[in-house]
Symmetry: C2
Subunit: 360 residues, 2 copies
């Protein structure tokens, strides 16, 4: 079959150039006589791959020398626990902002391990907005402030960085990292599961300010301790080498595309044309406050939910897949990460128009 | 370059057939229009891959219905912590057998989280043997007994299964799983990092008896709780999908090769011819008691360590790579997992003979 436009929220579409390069190198990586999957993580071939990937990521995000980059496993879900295990450092509690389902998961995991105070929530708007800065009841003694810059399910995104003064800011950037330039210095810790904008599932990237490393509670398992990973260059044990390699190819692709400023322009344009069409259609609807609509995940409903199945079936026939909304909210969701070509968004809008004409 | 014989201890050689199949399917998996890396883990394509892999693994190892199979992340190192966190279940302590470096890591991690009693050790022999059954001072009230059936670094292997009565037996099988048939019913829990005999790094397989699931200590992070993974079919969060897929291809390859009985015959033969040559050479030496020599990892030294560099350089020229022994023990190590063809062992022995003739 021809390549489809895959709107999955994650694991998600990867750049076709990256996939063809990975295919061409799969059995024999650059005349090494072996696949990247077969390489010792301590051999010079893989070390060169790993170091290049980190250097490119640092360049793309302009990560300051004050911050370490870790290549870990376990996804954002493991970070929901690792953040409090490492960053509470004897403090009474941490502050959390609730903007939807991923925030809630982070809060619930943190509560298992200490005290998580919800200092702001957009629950009253059914998570169609984010809490205004003035509404955050921040505790100046909190260990850190945690928020979710982009809610993959609700399609709600912060287009500004919260000011938390001297309290370290922690962000789950799984579904927005690398979508635009980022002032990393404003953050104490950023984490992201790879399977949206970075690479294959099974890799998790953590960017952490060095002074926040080393405070893990006694009895913290080695794999949950940032210090152990940082001191061992993310190779305390065998890292997910092949996912790390693919991430490196994605970083090279982003650089060839012009870096994150260029990506931001494309991403903003892709999102705007989809939201503009939805708003003008009179048939589709996105419930999110226009000021905090996600560039990456665009949920929408049809005027008549009874048409959902027909919409999805027709979309599949047109080579547009994984448009079904998350089971908890229903409707549709188009995830349009970096690797979704603008032509994919155009094809989706064309299909949506045709569907209205025929069924609406 | 032509394909090399890769003797890495892990990540390690994969079957060439698996790699070429993965290459051919990389960009477009079976006319789905997408790569396996891009598939939603909850989509029907990936679910079919995941279920087939589990069914094939169950068939290969004849895993009884009493045992769940989990596809996790974090490697054996994460299991070193998860085992005590889940299996202590209020008991005072667990029993550990020390047969070398991987046992020691498991013990040290368990001691962080509870009491780990070393009930048998082969330290006195410098880990060139395993403790005889009569020498184990088992505690009948222990939560479980943990041992390492194959020590990847020392090259020491159990060729028998310990009898621990009613106390659950737990095994780190990272470097020996799938090398031969296994009586899974004798075990409470088996875990294995994938990067030796299963597939790419970043996947960890846990086989656990159902009655041992559900006893995690309060406050255990979700990702460390077997119950949460078991109840969600290893999809509580996004699993390492691509590694899971490659593991599935390896399982299909093992079935085509005739299953584990056929693999055992080949593995025993490969190991025997290498040990026989080493013992007869008068130049190379393996220090391990012949009764517990590993089929998978064969460490050996040269009569003169000053020749190590020349040996490695010549080997590389002959297409034999990753033969350097672990930094903690020096010398050489040939890891000859399932995917190492018998021709690779033959080529190694030929090279070793030539080296003796020219330099020895």
């Amino acid at each position: 079959m021809a390549r489809v436009y895959n709107f999955s929220a994650g694991p998600a579409v990867l750049p076709e150039e990256v996939l063809t390069q990975a295919r061409d190198e799969l059995v024999d990586w650059r005349s090494s006589g072996m696949s990247v999957m077969e390489m010792s993580h301590r051999g010079k071939e893989f070390i060169s791959i790993a170091e290049k990937a980190e250097a490119d990521l640092r360049e793309l995000l302009a990560i300051p020398a004050s911050h370490k980059v870790l290549f870990l496993q376990g996804g954002a879900t493991q970070q929901f626990a690792m953040v409090p295990m490492n960053l509470l450092r004897g403090k009474k509690s941490a502050d959390y902002v609730n903007t939807g389902q991923w925030s809630k998961k982070a809060i619930s995991e943190a509560k298992k391990l200490g005290a998580a105070n919800v200092v702001a929530t957009s629950e009253a708007s059914n998570f169609t907005t984010v809490p205004a800065p003035g509404a955050w009841k921040l505790d100046p003694n909190a260990a850190y402030v945690h928020y979710t810059p982009n809610e993959t399910i609700g399609g709600v995104e912060f287009h500004w960085i919260p000011d938390t003064g001297d309290v370290p800011l922690v962000a789950d950037m799984s579904s927005t990292i690398l979508s635009r330039p980022l002032d990393v210095a404003r953050y104490g810790l950023i984490y992201a599961g790879a399977q949206k904008n970075i690479g294959p599932a099974g890799l998790t990237i953590v960017i952490v300010r060095e002074d926040l490393i080393g405070g893990a509670a006694p009895g913290t398992p080695s794999m949950m301790d940032y210090r152990i990973h940082a001191e061992n260059g993310s190779m305390y044990n065998t890292p997910p080498t092949y996912a790390w390699y693919i991430a490196g190819l994605v970083f090279e692709w982003l650089k060839r595309r012009g870096g994150l400023k260029a990506m931001a322009a494309v991403n903003e344009r892709k999102a705007k044309k989809l939201y503009d069409y939805i708003d003008a259609s009179g048939f589709y609807r996105n419930p999110v406050d226009p000021a905090c609509r996600s560039w990456m995940n665009v949920p929408f409903t049809l005027a008549d939910a009874a048409l959902d199945e027909a919409f999805l079936k027709g979309a599949k026939g047109a080579g547009l897949v994984q448009l079904k909304g998350h089971r908890s909210v229903g409707g549709m969701r188009a995830s349009i990460y970096n690797a979704m070509p603008e032509a994919g968004v155009d094809a989706l809008i064309d299909y949506m128009k045709t569907f209205v004409k025929n069924k609406g």
